[in-house]
């Protein structure tokens, strides 16, 4: 992936900035507005999870976002060095225990991306792919 690397301090105040930077890069790559909205939410979810993972273990190292166009996709990788987690399996919403807040982020990411891998390696690496709407600015094939 030829792209940009962004180091974000593990403070939730920076989640909005991460959203803004990644969506600006995607827009410049020709992603259409509808897909930008999906990307914005997925980046917010994964960045939030990564920052909270660092906070849980008092880690002051930054969360790293790498993003850019690759062939006909826009890819975003978000790496934390937290304790890692096992992504929950998708649940039927009618079976879900709504007594607990939280835990919806992974479901949202799966629903909004064209592909996602959760890799446990020195923390958690979330690799998200968005395949729609690239190319209208002349970057990469349509």
């Amino acid at each position: 992936m030829s792209g940009v690397e962004l180091h974000v301090p593990p403070d939730v105040v920076y989640v909005g900035l991460a959203r803004l930077v990644v969506t600006t890069a995607a827009r410049k790559s020709g992603m259409d507005d509808g897909r930008i909205e999906d990307l914005k939410i997925a980046v917010s979810e994964a960045t939030t999870n990564a920052i909270l993972a660092h906070q849980r273990v008092d880690r002051d190292r930054p969360v790293v976002l790498m993003f850019g166009p690759r062939e006909d996709q826009f890819e975003v990788v978000i790496q934390d060095t937290g304790p890692g987690f096992e992504p929950p399996l998708d649940q039927d919403p009618t079976d879900r225990d709504w007594a607990e807040e939280g835990g919806l982020g992974v479901t949202v990411i799966r629903g909004l991306t064209d592909g996602v891998d959760f890799i446990r390696e020195g923390g958690t690496r979330v690799h998200m792919r968005f395949s729609v709407g690239l190319g209208s600015n002349g970057h990469g094939p349509r």
């Binding site: 939730v12 909005g16 939030t48 919403p93 009618t94 479901t107």
Partner: protein, 113 residues
């Protein structure tokens, strides 16, 4: 954009207007407001999200928490939302089956009466 919160009472309902961005940074303010309202006896809430620019699962979680609180008092929590980008994550998470969601405030007030 920051979060804006304003509430007013109309008949038996308390309408909470939410505007701006609801994410992990701003959601605690929404949670606090919902807790305050329920604590003050506002058990029939309509959360108007017409002016919400961004909402992620942290915001969804806070709304689920609000619903739990009003249900503990046999109350209700309805949502007003006509923005596809926001409705989409309610559908993905199955929360369209949990919350009554209306296109307009008038419909929400009629539907909840």
């Amino acid at each position: 954009m920051e979060l804006s919160l304003h509430h007013r009472t109309e008949g038996d309902h308390t309408i909470l207007d939410v505007g701006g961005e609801v994410d992990v940074y701003t959601a605690p303010k929404l949670r606090e407001r919902l807790v305050e309202l329920v604590g003050e006896g506002h058990y029939n809430l309509v959360v108007d999200m017409t002016k919400v620019e961004f909402l992620d699962s942290t915001g969804l979680g806070v709304l689920v928490g609000g619903l739990k609180r009003v249900r503990a008092h046999e109350g209700s929590l309805a949502l007003v939302c006509n923005q596809e980008r926001i409705l989409k994550i309610f559908r993905i998470t199955g929360l369209t089956k949990v919350f009554p969601i209306y296109d307009t405030l008038d419909e929400a007030l009629q539907g909840q009466s």
